[in-house]
């Protein structure tokens, strides 16, 4: 005896339900199709939302881990001093502190030239990675060229460039940064900090290891520097990512809401199918009741039918949704495996649960109606 037979023997409602559904395969198939579409809609719209969010997060990169400290111009503070930087270094327990000076300067190589932002940094390795060449631990001489500027001036490591008349050997061309960044290197040139005019710094970038560490650092910096007067303004990029996350949360709820409408339609079609089939089977149900089958068992039998429709539709819908998710992620993110993440599993479970729930709910009224018909009435011709 197979497992299925065993199950049917143990749960007779299921056996009866399965036989009843196979009686009119086309009708059952159409009811299942409705659930498939509903489940597919919810799950794939949910996964679509996840894909959008993942794409956006990739664009943003790790900016949630960065904070920017800049002088508070409203209090008349023009730049951050060495003392400020020391205090920031003390406040930040977990992460790199990179003071930055910046200016616009004319950069040229041979007969090509451009006006671009020049950053003065001591420790650019904390923020950037090299595409070609090597970023020294401390930048004392030489320059790093952002990918955009490098393309414009046709620069490779080892070339020399001139910044406002001063000559630098290029140590590295920096990797293009995909995300938004506080100090974007792409169209910039980075030189030793002493080479940029001024004594103080225009901003200090703190790159922490996690969003939480960034947040803790921000709190500590405000406490340390803004005790007596509002010396600095601290900008946490987390506020952007939090807003974006919230937006995608709302978008997802909206998409799933749209998907749910199709499931409601599927529910109505199941209600219709179950109602028709119980009306057709009036006499049979009357016989069941006559030979001693209780009302509750009739209800169970019909709910099992509706449930089977829901489970069949849910399983098929889930499989199709995974297929759709793989295709979508392969296309949008170039990463089909991105489908198999916790959020998506949740959407699939949610969609299947909704599908089965809708079906069973739609079976309730027909079941109740069939079980409450008096057998004498059902058996009268």
């Amino acid at each position: 005896m197979s497992v299925l037979d065993d199950l049917f023997r143990r749960v007779p409602a299921l056996l009866m339900a399965r036989r009843n559904l196979s009686r009119n395969r086309i009708r059952s198939g159409l009811a299942v199709l409705g659930i498939i579409i509903g489940v597919l809609a919810i799950a794939s719209l949910g996964m679509f939302g996840t894909t959008l969010r993942t794409g956006a997060t990739q664009q943003l990169g790790d900016i949630g881990n960065e904070i920017s400290v800049s002088p508070n111009f409203q209090e008349g503070i023009e730049e951050l001093t060495e003392r400020d930087v020391d205090e920031i270094r003390r406040a930040v327990t977990d992460g790199a502190v990179v003071p930055v000076r910046s200016e616009s300067k004319l950069v040229s190589r041979g007969d090509r030239q451009t006006v671009t932002t020049v950053y003065g940094m001591e420790d650019p390795g904390a923020l950037y990675e090299a595409e070609e060449g090597r970023i020294p631990d401390r930048l004392r001489q030489g320059a790093l060229v952002g990918s955009g500027t490098a393309g414009l001036l046709d620069v490779e490591p080892g070339n020399t460039i001139s910044v406002d008349g001063r000559t630098y050997r290029v140590s590295a061309v920096l990797a293009e940064q995909q995300g938004i960044s506080l100090v974007s290197p792409n169209n910039a040139v980075i030189v030793p900090v002493e080479d940029v005019n001024g004594t103080g710094y225009s901003q200090v970038v703190v790159s922490a290891d996690s969003g939480q560490a960034a947040n803790e650092s921000a709190v500590a910096i405000r406490e340390a520097l803004n005790e007596r007067e509002e010396r600095v303004s601290v900008f946490e990029l987390q506020s952007i990512t939090a807003g974006i996350n919230e937006f995608f949360g709302i978008l997802n709820a909206f998409l799933i809401g749209i998907g749910s409408i199709s499931l409601v339609v599927a529910g109505v079609s199941i209600l219709n199918v179950m109602l028709m089939s119980t009306i057709e089977r009036r006499q049979e149900i009357g016989v069941l009741r006559a030979v001693g089958v209780q009302r509750g068992d009739v209800i169970r039998m019909i709910l099992a039918e509706a449930g089977l429709l829901g489970v069949a539709g849910g399983v098929i819908g889930a499989i199709l949704a995974v297929g759709a998710g793989v295709a979508l992620n392969a296309f949008v993110l170039n990463d089909p495996l991105a489908t198999f993440q916790a959020a998506n599993l949740l959407y699939i479970v949610l969609a299947v649960g909704f599908g089965v729930g809708t079906s069973v709910l739609s079976g309730l009224y027909p079941a109740w109606k069939a079980a409450n018909e008096r057998p004498v009435e059902a058996l009268r011709k």
Binding site: P12, L15, L288, A290, V291, G292, R295, D297, V376
Partner: protein
């Protein structure tokens, strides 16, 4: 008094929108174990109504129903269902088999919702007894009328009832097939000590009956 079932002064009225139909009028009736009683009468005389009251499918408007000495007139739907399952087997004119189930599953059907490990063996033996041992896996549409009625009889017997109620059991069968079904009833009531109450127009049932009750216009003559 060892009546297995008894009706005392039973009335059944149907209120059909203003006009009240009296389907049973002051009916006294009883049957004993092993007895074969036929109920005869013209169409519309209340035979089916009486059978439904006897079978706990319907409750009388007035009067009392005793099953195995117990007053079962005012039981709940649940209790009536339990008593039907335990005491009563039904046989209908149009068989009422479930088309999606095999002969064997149809016979098992009354035991299906409940833990009954020997049901399959009993059903197999009953089908062998009614001469359908070779047809266990046939579906109703693969059986003749007489064979269907035999499956229905086996189904009625699966829970070893004390009473067999048959509403025109030979009505859809030819004479010879009808006779073989009646022979089966005769055998059952003798061997199993079951009370058989059959409603009929069929005069040949008279040959088998211990007693014939005539209903005319809701009254026993």
């Amino acid at each position: 008094m060892n009546h297995i079932i008894e009706l005392q002064r039973v009335w059944k009225r149907y209120d059909t929108g203003g006009e009240v139909v009296e389907a049973l009028k002051d009916v006294d009736f009883h049957a004993d174990p092993g007895e074969f009683v036929t109920v005869m009468g013209p169409s519309g005389s209340g035979k089916s109504t009486m059978l439904n009251v006897l079978g706990l499918l319907d409750t009388p408007t007035e009067g009392t129903v005793y099953l195995d000495g117990q007053d079962v007139t005012d039981l709940s739907d649940r209790e009536m269902t339990v008593h039907r399952k335990r005491f009563i087997g039904f046989i209908f004119q149009s068989f009422h088999l479930i088309p999606t189930l095999s002969a064997l599953e149809n016979v098992e059907m009354p035991t299906l919702f409940g833990d009954d490990p020997t049901a399959r063996d009993r059903a197999t033996r009953l089908l062998e007894r009614v001469g359908l041992g070779e047809r266990l896996d046939h579906r109703p549409d693969q059986l003749s009328g007489g064979q269907k009625q035999r499956v229905a009889i086996a189904r009625a017997l699966i829970n070893e009832p004390r009473i067999l109620l048959a509403d025109e059991p030979t009505g859809n069968l030819d004479r010879a097939t009808g006779r073989s079904v009646l022979d089966l009833f005769d055998e059952i009531r003798r061997e199993d000590d079951v009370a058989v109450i059959a409603v009929t127009h069929d005069p040949q049932i008279g040959d088998y009956a211990d007693r014939t009750v005539e209903l005319i216009d809701g009254r026993i003559q």
